[in-house]
């Protein structure tokens, strides 16, 4: 039974994947400029959602460290570019490595304290506040509260493009790469350990999963990809402020999209972001006088969806598929 279900869901995955990639690759030829801008943002949210899914969904390490990783990636590539002229392509790698180095001690301290699961989330939230205040106070770190402007010199080496199409294809490539990495990870032994930890931390420890080690690995991988996304975000927006580069609000958005799509499921981020973000964007453009109305809508959708389908849309679909075969 297990085998056939795995087979059916993997066929489904291949079909979905192929159709999606073809459609997405052709999209820029159809879309005018503004919707294309939105399409890049949607892809970025899917990317950030999947990066977050690695640690919080697959491995069950629910926390809010990721705004720090986004900020690390954004600031590292930007400062290396503006101060030393290093191409953002190398800068974003440096940022990703730095994010991994940052993630390990913070995760270690929080996990070693052996506080109950959700306390980890709030401790990490405290670290985000520390990071925002720090970036705000020290001019070296974030250019202070006036922010950093990235000079606009279009060119592939400068990671800047005069049309959105360049950004679109880079983000698409990054998202597909990340999806492939996650797909392989979930099928590996490590993915099995992650899922055991997410299902039941104590039981997985009892059967010999090294909790500290695998939490650190999950957080490290997640930090790496999240920071790459942060660098992309900085290049795409063209300027950086501590409050937008290190943003809890953005992260809560990612988490809620993921919750609707299905926490810890492979397709969760795609479904959640693809469903909610367009609705919110339409609402925002139709009713510009209510700037926060889309937050109300997102919040209500999350409450309703979780009340009906506690494991999100993809969580529900996968459990149905497993039962039918």
């Amino acid at each position: 039974m297990k085998n056939s279900s795995r087979q059916s869901s993997s066929t489904l995955n291949y079909v979905l994947l192929g159709a999606l990639i073809v459609a997405l690759a052709l999209l820029p030829f159809v879309l005018p400029s503004y919707p294309l801008h939105l399409a890049v943002l949607i892809l970025l949210y899917v990317y950030l959602g999947q990066s977050y899914n690695i640690s919080a969904g697959f491995a069950g390490c629910f926390g809010f460290l990721h705004p720090i990783f986004i900020g690390t990636g954004a600031y590292t590539s930007t400062l290396l570019f503006t101060k030393m002229g290093l191409t953002p392509w190398l800068g974003m790698l440096a940022g990703a490595v730095l994010a991994v180095i940052l993630s390990l001690p913070i995760t270690y301290v929080a996990i070693r304290a052996k506080l109950p699961r959700l306390s980890f989330a709030l401790i990490t939230m405290a670290f985000v506040f520390i990071a925002v205040y720090a970036a705000d106070s020290f001019a070296v770190l974030g250019g202070g509260d006036r922010g950093v402007q990235i000079p606009f010199r279009p060119g592939l080496a400068n990671f800047q493009f005069s049309s959105k199409i360049g950004f679109y294809y880079i983000m698409l490539a990054m998202t597909i790469t990340l999806m492939v990495v996650c797909w392989q990870m979930l099928r590996s032994r490590m993915g099995l350990y992650f899922r055991a930890m997410a299902d039941n931390e104590k039981a997985s420890e009892a059967v010999g999963v090294n909790l500290v080690k695998y939490n650190l690995i999950a957080m490290g991988i997640s930090a790496f990809f999240t920071a790459l996304g942060g660098s992309f975000y900085a290049q795409f927006v063209g300027s950086l402020l501590p409050s937008t580069a290190i943003s809890l609000e953005l992260m809560i958005g990612v988490i809620l999209f993921l919750a609707v799509g299905g926490f810890g499921t492979f397709w969760g981020p795609v479904v959640g972001v693809g469903l909610l973000m367009p609705i919110g964007e339409i609402l925002r453009s139709r009713l510009p006088q209510f700037q926060t109305l889309h937050l109300l809508l997102y919040g209500l959708i999350v409450i309703v969806i979780l009340s009906v389908l506690p494991h999100g849309i993809m969580g529900y679909i996968t459990s149905k598929l497993d039962r039918n075969h």
């Binding site: 069950g60 629910f62 301290v109 929080a110 070693r112 304290a113 052996k114 506080l115 109950p116 699961r117 959700l118 306390s119 989330a121 709030l122 401790i123 939230m125 405290a126 506040f129 520390i130 205040y133 720090a134 705000d136 106070s137 809890l248 809560i252 988490i255 809620l256 919750a259 926490f263 209510f290 700037q291 926060t292 109305l293 889309h294 937050l295 109300l296 997102y298 919040g299 209500l300 959708i301 999350v302 409450i303 979780l306 009340s307 506690p310 494991h311």
Partner: protein, 288 residues
Amino acid sequence: MDLTILLQVILQGLMLGAMYGLVSLGMTLIFVTTGLMNFAHGSFMAVAMYLALSLFTAFHFDPYVSVFITVPTLFIIGWILFRFVVRRLLEVHILMAAQVTLGMLWVIESVLSTIYGNNIQSVPTVIGSSKVYLGPLVVTGPYLVTFVVAAIVGVLLFLLLQKTDFGRSVRALMQDRKAAELMGIRVDRTQTAVFGLGLALLGLAGPLVVPMISVSPFVGLQFTLFAFMIMVFGGSSNLLGSVVGGLMFGLVDSLGRFFFTGNIASLIPFSALVLVLLLRPGGLLGEK
């Protein structure tokens, strides 16, 4: 002269800290009986503060009068939310319940900012400028009232937890949920009541602190974090810890604001949290 100011700062910090302690106690009670970390906790305090603002602009109610409306209102909100949304999700997975409170956070922020705008606001009270002299020290009315009310409610809560059947159920749940269930304790009822109680405490604290602390729609998350830090300071395994943690938080915060300014001052309580986590992960009163 300088010493007097310092003592003054310490005194005000402790007085505000007592009320923070109550807010955190609500969060701790919910946490120990359900296992749920409520991310919207501080946002509900913002709701109570804005309710006091509305009651003031509409009927010229003093915040101290509004308390008699906000406490039952918040209790009912908490009761309904737990009974119809949170409880079902707790049975599935604790993470989903936590995510639903994140959803509530966004709903509250959006509604507050649509109704009241994004400005920082405060509510005046008739005793706002009254002063009480304690030797060389001066305490303004709102601080004193907050402290006295926090002390009285603290004692009442202690009696409630120690002397009543409800309190015994709560403490049983805290020790061992499964065993408590086997002993015939109605777990769901106790949890619902505790969730309502936790929010009712916010209904009390919100109007009381709004003359001193201004409110804006997006301040809730910060309140949640303060309450959580207090819980870690005190240790979640000990309810008295919340009170000690609250006093300590008030002290650290006001001393930080006395010696430093701006962002550095805001960093002080967070740094204290990291220190406590490193040195005494179980909290000051918790087991090591």
